[in-house]
């Protein structure tokens, strides 16, 4: 008994679908932060697991690309590993865990610590593309609010936070104003990462598969996190360094290490952590030998 031999088109999606997505991407580049509707296709994973990101990646990836996939900063989670393997198989692309070597980085919930460069593409998986969604449930109305640039409602959310907690308590998916025009949901990245989007040299693509929306931040675009004059946006801060590599000024995850609730704080970006740790070990070795 022979297994049926399946030949996939390059990047899994058929050429027409890739054209549809590329057209949406181009429109997104032309209107930074605007949510472009697109015909979201089925991909071999359930909706909500990054189907939007996978479709966007499939539309831009080629055999000469090097793909990195991160899930909450980690390269080694099930989802990240299987998406990497998927594109190795269907696009013939190489994959890497190193941020600086990748040409395309598909991400869920993080922007890498290593600064991105020109000619790199960051693809975000987006669960809910509409920043006004939980304040205004009607899609017809939110589209109108975007069209007429009426963003008072977004500030109501921030007002409520300050009234209740004394500061803006939203720490992820923190709304941003792109290019001075569209308010955009940056996908559930921590607000720690928000400043990295501003004037980033990389192209940032956002794909929401279930909600069928694509939006884009072109390179070197202004991305301003919203805030009040007397309560401006403040990204999260961490006082202690990473307990593995000793980095400061990075986003830390709390990891529970035993049954008594003890925890350690370590880098959420595994690639950054690994490279910093290796580098410091090498430094120590050099010092000792010198």
């Amino acid at each position: 008994m022979s297994a049926p031999h399946i030949v996939y088109n390059e990047g899994y999606l058929d050429e027409q679908t890739k054209r549809v997505i590329r057209r949406a991407l181009l429109k997104g580049v032309a209107i930074p932060g605007f949510q472009v509707p697109f015909a979201s296709r089925e991909v071999p994973m359930p909706r909500g697991w990054g189907t939007g990101g996978v479709q966007v990646t499939a539309a831009v990836i080629g055999a000469s690309d090097t793909l990195k996939v991160i899930d909450q900063g980690a390269d080694d989670t099930t989802n990240a590993v299987s998406i990497r393997a998927f594109f190795e198989k269907v696009a013939g692309a190489r994959s890497t865990t190193r941020t600086d070597e990748a040409t395309i980085i598909q991400t869920r919930h993080r922007i890498p610590e290593t600064p991105l460069a020109e000619k790199q593409i960051l693809v975000y998986q987006v669960p809910i593309p509409e920043p006004l969604r939980f304040l205004e449930p009607r899609e017809t109305e939110t589209r109108r609010l975007h069209a007429l640039e009426e963003y008072g409602l977004m500030y109501v959310k921030l007002y409520e936070d300050i009234a209740r907690y004394g500061h803006i308590a939203k720490t992820y998916d923190y709304p941003v104003l792109v290019n001075g025009r569209y308010v955009m949901a940056p996908s559930p990245i921590p607000s720690f990462d928000n400043p990295k989007m501003h004037q980033s040299p990389a192209l940032q693509l956002f794909g929401a598969g279930r909600e069928k929306r694509i939006y884009v931040i072109p390179p070197f675009t202004d991305v301003e996190s919203l805030g009040f004059e007397d309560f401006p946006f403040e990204p999260q801060r961490f006082d202690q360094p990473c307990e593995i590599c000793g980095s400061v000024g990075v986003y830390l995850d709390e990891v529970i290490i035993d049954d008594r609730g003890n925890a350690m704080f370590v880098c959420s970006d595994t690639d950054h952590c690994e490279r910093t740790a290796t580098a410091s070990v090498r430094d120590e070795t050099t010092e000792v030998s010198a």
Partner: protein
């Protein structure tokens, strides 16, 4: 302080539902500081008229003109638009959706019968009152908060309940929050659709008192729709009586209620229970 031109001038206005008119051939002028009551039985086209005036329903015949003082210094549009805006009376049908929504934000209030329609029930009272300010570009939390506090005080909401959601309030309090929300941005014209009819009688009286004093204090023009003649008597200067979508009688409120001319108005006035 009698103005030369009215604030709102309506001529032959009508709105059609399919091939039947919800209200038709309505004409009146409204001056600043004036309260106009629209009374009539249910189904007489009162709310349709209100929807039409506030541009929530389409105007299918006639014209509605409005004196726009503030749009002339508005930051939107080009020079041509500014010229048009500077005219005394502006035909509302020439406005784009953006301009109509601007009127909603800056010039017009709309108080719904059911407070849940006009409020965000799960946003705090302070947030509800502050929202129109934020929509108008206020970006200073302290100032927004102070203004919301001030307005909640004016509508007699206890200061310690500012951070509670209207969902936790009584009907009368909700209605008062709604009024604060509609007055906080300094409108010149307020539409009210049965503002008191879902409340019990003692609360009604206090709310009417409040509306009357705020209106007098701020010099607002108000169009209030009601089926309750007592409300018309208490707060309005002039009254329109509607039946089957047309205005059958209009005049000073005291004249209309004390000396009704139309047969239907006579019936309406005589049907009030006398104690």
């Amino acid at each position: 302080m009698k103005n030369e031109t009215p604030l709102l001038s309506v001529t032959g206005a009508g709105h059609r539902y399919g091939d039947r008119f919800g209200c038709r051939d309505v004409s009146f002028d409204l001056w600043p500081g004036e309260v106009l009551a629209v009374v009539g039985e249910s189904g007489s086209g009162k709310s349709t008229l209100l929807g039409m005036l506030s541009q929530r329903l389409t105007l299918d015949e006639g014209t509605i003109r409005y004196r726009t003082a503030r749009l002339s210094d508005a930051d939107l549009g080009g020079a041509g638009e500014d010229e048009r805006m500077a005219e005394d009376l502006l035909d509302l049908s020439t406005l784009s959706e953006r301009e109509v929504r601007r009127l909603w934000r800056t010039d017009w209030g709309f108080v719904h019968q059911n407070a849940a329609d006009g409020l965000r029930m799960h946003v705090s009272a302070g947030g509800n009152v502050g929202e129109p300010l934020m929509a108008n570009g206020w970006r200073h939390y302290g100032k927004i908060r102070a203004e919301a506090e001030e307005w909640l005080r004016r509508v007699e909401i206890p200061a310690d309940r500012i951070d509670e959601a209207p969902a936790t309030y009584s009907g009368g309090m909700r209605q008062r929050v709604q009024i604060a929300r509609n007055l906080v941005f300094g409108p010149r014209l307020v539409f009210m659709d049965e503002p008191t009819s879902s409340l019990d009688v003692s609360v009604q009286a206090r709310l009417l008192d409040l509306i009357r004093s705020l209106v007098a204090e701020l010099g607002l023009a108000v169009v209030v729709v009601t089926h309750d003649l007592a409300v018309a008597r208490l707060i309005s200067h002039r009254t329109l009586v509607m039946k089957d979508g047309v205005v059958i009688e209009s005049g000073l409120t005291d004249r209309v209620l004390d000396d009704p001319q139309a047969a239907y108005t006579q019936l309406l006035v005589s049907s009030i229970l006398q104690g």
